[in-house]
């Protein structure tokens, strides 16, 4: 049974205009396996998924999926596959139950079996309480899970999941995995496209795509093993670890380095000995510790190492000065929507030059808190100030102190890249020579030069994020708000993104960030963990991890997150 081949791709190609999205991919996917599809943005993951789903015809080559040649008959092909697109087409004006019912009928689930199927899916997704709620009223993670439930409705031979866990909190992510593992037991083949590499590690084999070509295929472990002996944790450096990170990245022997709580995680270039790193560590008063490599290390290494360097834009920024200490402050902040309390008595303060992360499961009230701080929502009780001002009715001057990057891509799709830059520079009051200089600066720093006349929507996700960041910081705000800034972004772009943020912070900028991505949480100075509208923990990443430690090994941030949430849930019962 398991030896049966479900997908057979031979020399599949596809181009869109001048972009070669898929350049000669051959692959064979057996039944009963979980296959990861990874690669940087624009590598062709989604196009390949759509080709397998029969939604796009390859320009050349053949795609045989569950015995159907996709070129001949994509309608009967659809009978045998399940596909969950990146933006799953839930009907927002239908309830959870009605969405399930629709897809059950469309996928030919027999009426008699439906009740049982729904019960299982609702249990796995923890949506049982919400069956009567309109899908449009669910939080992002709940929608994602409902989308998956709809895609999983029937038991197709092949299930294609395109970035199913973007924007999903760690707890829900566990639910997703549980659902998928359950399916694999039934002999289904699952293709999971993702830019979260810890997910790729759990696949039985991965295809690593870059620029439409397969760079690596096989078990993730085999790729990770190549990095044996090259990953280290640089411990014991208390101050200036962000500045140090930038210095490290300039060392020729280092392939990759990221902030990891109070430590820095370093990957050496192939063939370099750890001695150099050891010396460096000693000179800084710290020490190095060998750690097992991760798939992410191997991924970055295979793609030529991290390309991020010092942030040129941050270097040009003047030091942010001022006397006030609590730049961002919430004081007994509460928001009620009718009977529902979205944010309940939240208090915290963020100092100058600090990165503060707001974490929590979907629907915990992060966005609401965030929006009240930015002045996008009115406050029911308490206060939320940025630079001493409540922003809802603030003066122009107060609003000028804020840079904001929204969760959803929210630049003007109808304007070109250059026109967007012009607009945001102008709206923040820049004009004349200063405006020209600042625009030239960000174009240079974010390498936007070749795309100035393109539509933002046609850029890859990574470039869109760069553009959004560029638009948010041209007026050099002392405070920057980032709402899930790197959701779905590949590790290389994420590193580059954070190299800029690190640069800004070392100049005294204050950053507030919400994220679902635990790696990103490690970059923060302090984390506030929200659950059910309240802050249930507020500390440094390392302290949070320590607090959640149960065995001899230090837990990952994700494990700590899940532990804290579970603890809270138990207390409530």
């Amino acid at each position: 049974m398991t030896s049966e081949t479900v997908v057979e791709l031979s020399e599949v190609t596809k181009r869109f205009g001048s972009v070669q999205a898929v350049a000669g991919v051959s692959a064979s996917i057996p039944a009963g396996r979980l296959i990861g599809l990874v690669g940087p943005d624009g590598a062709g993951k989604t196009t390949l998924m759509r080709i397998m789903a029969g939604l796009i015809l390859p320009a050349s080559g053949r795609a045989v999926v569950v015995g159907h040649d996709s070129a001949d008959d994509n309608e009967s092909l659809a009978d045998d596959i399940g596909y969950m697109p990146q933006q799953f087409g839930l009907y927002e004006d239908l309830t959870v139950q009605e969405n399930l019912q629709l897809y059950a009928d469309l996928r030919g689930v027999a009426r008699k079996k439906q009740a049982e199927t729904f019960a299982t899916l609702l249990r796995l997704t923890r949506l049982a309480k919400f069956t009567g709620r309109l899908a449009g009223r669910l939080s992002g993670g709940m929608k994602q899970k409902l989308g998956l439930a709809c895609a999983l409705m029937a038991r197709p031979k092949l299930l294609l999941l395109d970035e199913p866990s973007v924007g999903v909190d760690p707890v829900s992510r566990q639910d997703l995995w549980a659902m998928v593992e359950d399916l694999l037991k039934g002999g289904m083949a699952v293709v999971w496209a993702t830019s979260y590499l810890d997910e790729a590690e759990r696949c039985s084999s991965v295809f690593l795509l870059s620029e439409g070509k397969v760079l690596y295929s096989g078990a993730p472990k085999k790729l990770t093993d190549r990095l044996e002996g090259r990953s280290f944790l640089l411990r014991g450096i208390v101050t200036q670890r962000r500045k140090l990170l930038a210095d490290l990245m300039e060392q020729t022997f280092i392939s990759d380095a990221v902030v990891h709580g109070e430590s820095i995680r370093v990957v050496l270039h192939e063939g370099r000995s750890p001695e150099e790193l050891g010396k460096l560590a000693t000179s800084l008063g710290g020490k190095i510790e060998a750690v097992p490599p991760r798939f992410e290390d191997a991924f970055i290494d295979l793609l030529g190492g991290s390309s991020s360097r010092r942030s040129r834009i941050a270097e040009k920024m003047p030091e942010v000065t001022g006397s006030e200490t609590n730049i961002i402050a919430c004081d007994h902040l509460t928001k009620k929507f009718g009977n529902f309390t979205a944010t309940d008595n939240v208090s915290f303060a963020v100092g100058r030059g600090e990165i503060f992360g707001l974490l929590g499961p979907n629907g915990a009230g992060k966005s609401t808190t965030f929006k009240m701080l930015c002045g996008l929502l009115s406050i029911t009780e308490g206060s939320a100030t940025v630079g001493g001002h409540e922003l809802l009715n603030a003066s122009k001057k107060a609003k000028l102190s804020l840079g904001y990057m929204a969760q959803k891509f929210s630049l003007y799709g109808l304007l070109s890249v250059k026109q967007n830059l012009d607009f945001f520079a102008g709206v923040y009051g820049l004009s004349g020579k200063v405006k020209k200089e600042r625009i030239a600066e960000v174009i240079d720093a974010f390498s936007l030069g070749p795309f100035l006349n393109s539509d933002p929507a046609k850029l890859s996700l990574g470039y869109r994020q760069r553009l959004a960041l560029a638009c948010a910081i041209m007026h050099r705000p002392p405070v920057l708000f980032l709402d899930e800034p790197t959701s779905g972004v590949d590790p290389i772009t994420r590193r580059e993104f954070w190299s800029h943020i690190n640069g800004f912070v070392s100049k005294g900028m204050t950053v507030m960030v919400t994220t679902h991505f635990m790696e990103e949480a490690e970059y923060c100075d302090r984390i506030g963990l929200m659950y059910a509208a309240k802050i249930i923990a507020l500390d440094t990443p390392d302290a949070l991890k320590k607090g959640a430690q149960q065995g001899p090994e230090e837990p990952t941030m994700e494990e700590a997150f899940i532990h804290l949430i579970k603890q809270q849930e138990e207390q409530q019962i």
């Binding site: 930015c374 922003l391 009715n393 929210s410 102008g426 709206v427």
Partner: protein
């Protein structure tokens, strides 16, 4: 001026323009439909009646019916005369809409006239097209009135009336339609563009981005109205040019006053559009909302039918519609050389409407901003 047009405001105005004009499809949609409308309206939309078919049921054996029919056949508004020979054929002719009107000559038609009496002619009109049929009946009435002259060319039959059509001697329909159209088309485009502007930002998620930026609500309102007003005025002027150069409508009044009227008119319309936009959650709602406002505006503006014909309450409502006033100004300045003091009364009325709409839209937009 320098302090008024801040960089922030200028950036927003530029952004709004680009949002409309940068996309090729949108550009085409703003330019082509008005052109189509101009020609369809100018040529097809007429309450004149010509090229019609009429049925003739002649039961008379004498010569007078034949003479009358010969007169009819010379009439330019008739395209075809279809003879029928029975009541049932006549009924079928009207039922099937082959003829809009039937002329029935009774058997004694000639005998009566020859005997110095009156021949009784029966006109039967199709009530489904009662309006055109009535006009055609009027024409036939006129032919009948002149029939005495045909019978006795030697006697001069006096006509007690002289009709003078002032301002538009030949009753050229296009002279009326095209100037009015400059108002209708700028209304359509200005309204829909403004109505979509906030709704689109809300649907695409850019509105939050705008709200956190240091733009004041009046800047947002001004920026959103400017492009629609400019584009609406540009289209209206294109039609005014077409009126002068293609349709040769005499422009006797002040062009400057016409432009001032147009400006106030488009400002009023843009503020109405903004109210719809601020209330609509999606672009679909904005489109349907605009539709629900635009159709009654056009119908009640007096463009299609005289306001005097409407029930009293609608006549009051019509006074509150900017289009009503604009059409009076446009027609007046084109054909009637309307004096400035009358024009200013209507501009004043539109300014009051614009002010009210602007206040409403500012407060509605402000509310949505919070």
């Amino acid at each position: 001026m320098k302090t008024f047009l801040t960089p922030a405001l200028r950036a927003q105005v530029v952004k709004e323009f680009l949002s409309i004009m940068r996309d090729k499809k949108t550009r085409l949609i703003i330019i082509i439909p008005p052109l189509v409308q101009l020609f369809v309206f100018a040529y097809a939309v007429t309450l004149e009646v010509n090229n019609i078919s009429i049925a003739v049921y002649n039961k008379d054996n004498g010569s007078q019916a034949g003479r009358f029919i010969a007169q009819l056949s010379r009439a330019s508004f008739i395209k075809e005369m279809r003879s029928v020979y029975s009541e049932s054929a006549l009924r079928e002719e009207i039922n099937m809409r082959h003829s809009i009107l039937a002329v029935v000559f009774p058997a004694d038609f000639s005998r009566k006239i020859d005997g110095g009496g009156q021949g009784k002619l029966l006109l039967i009109s199709d009530g489904r097209r009662a309006n055109s049929a009535q006009v055609a009946a009027g024409y036939i009435q006129e032919i009948a009135g002149k029939f005495a002259q045909v019978l006795h060319p030697e006697i001069k039959v006096p006509d007690p009336t002289v009709v003078r059509h002032w301002f538009n001697e030949n009753l050229t329909y296009q002279w009326y339609v095209v100037p009015g159209l400059s108002g209708i088309i700028s209304l359509l485009i200005t309204f829909i563009l403004t109505a979509l502007s906030i709704a689109r930002e809300r649907e695409l998620g850019t509105f939050d981005q705008l709200l956190v930026s240091p733009c004041s609500s009046w800047e947002i309102i001004l920026a959103k109205m400017t492009p629609s007003i400019v584009i609406g005025m540009a289209l209206a002027n294109a039609i005014i040019a077409a009126a002068v150069f293609i349709f040769h409508v005499p422009l006797l009044g002040s062009f400057v006053l016409l432009e001032i009227g147009l400006l106030i008119f488009t400002i009023a319309i843009a503020s109405m559009g903004l109210v719809v936009s601020a209330l609509a959650a999606t672009q679909q709602q904005a489109v349907l909302g605009s539709f629900a406002v635009i159709v009654p505006i056009i119908l009640c503006s007096g463009f299609a039918t005289p306001i005097a014909n409407m029930p009293q309450i609608l006549q009051y409502i019509a006074q509150g519609i900017p289009l009503t006033h604009y059409i009076i100004i446009a027609e007046g300045l084109f054909m009637k050389a309307m004096p400035a003091f009358i024009v200013w009364q209507h501009i004043g009325a539109m300014a009051v409407i614009a002010l009210v709409c602007l206040l409403v839209s500012t407060s509605v937009v402000r509310k949505t901003l919070q």
